[in-house]
Amino acid sequence: LAKTTQPISMDSYEGQEVNITCSHNNIATNDYITWYQQFPSQGPRFIIQGYKTKVTNEVASLFIPADRKSSTLSLPRVSLSDTAVYYCLVGDANYGQNFVFGPGTRLSVLP
């Protein structure tokens, strides 16, 4: 299983763009990169998933370089409600049980 490394915590201010980088040096050919968001006392929620290059949805963008050994989740113009823990997962998309949740990045958005 591909192991991921991401910062334990980050601080930002409202209205700023936040970029959270995840390292996954031993990512396999069939592995996808998935990000989840978790608010206190709630289950995680899917944010975005990608395989290579760039993926964008209404919530975030995901940038994946050609070597796929890292990825960056970009949250545009964060608000206080974006304060949460963000998890980077890497695994074969055909086997959901292979996605491992690490400790995540605790993002604090300040006014």
């Binding site: 998935t34 709630q42 995680p44 998933q49 055909n94 959901g96 049980q97």
Partner: protein
């Protein structure tokens, strides 16, 4: 659609007692999962199921048993609860390989907060 629901929301047990946590999903998902989350940590996979009648061990299966008799339900049992099993338990489900907008996007329930004294 209710999505993924978990019963109960809270429970306090004494050491040695048994209990069953119920997870139900109404999205016709093939895959279901049970995780535990300890304070300040990520989620750890206990058991999972890739279809009705099948179960498999995850990262931390000891002390737990599961059953998937119906596609929509996934039960997690603690036969003899221990204080080390004090945690928040999350159930999740996903399409599996048969479809969905994203590969194996997992949908999570609200969690069950279990305390073992």
């Amino acid at each position: 659609n209710a999505g993924v629901t978990q019963t109960p929301k809270f429970r306090v047990l004494k050491t040695g007692q048994s209990m069953t946590l119920l997870c139900a999903q109404d999205m016709n998902h093939e895959y279901m999962y049970w995780y535990r989350q300890d304070p300040g940590m990520g989620l750890r996979l206990i058991h999972y199921s890739v279809g009705e009648g099948t179960t498999a061990k995850g990262e931390v299966p000891d002390g737990y048993n599961v059953s998937r008799l119906k596609k929509q339900n996934f039960l997690l049992g603690l036969e003899s609860a221990a204080p080390s099993q004090t945690s928040v338990y999350f159930c999740a489900s996903s399409y599996g390989t048969s479809g969905g907008s994203s590969y194996n996007e997992q949908f999570f329930g609200p969690g069950t907060r279990l305390t073992v004294l």
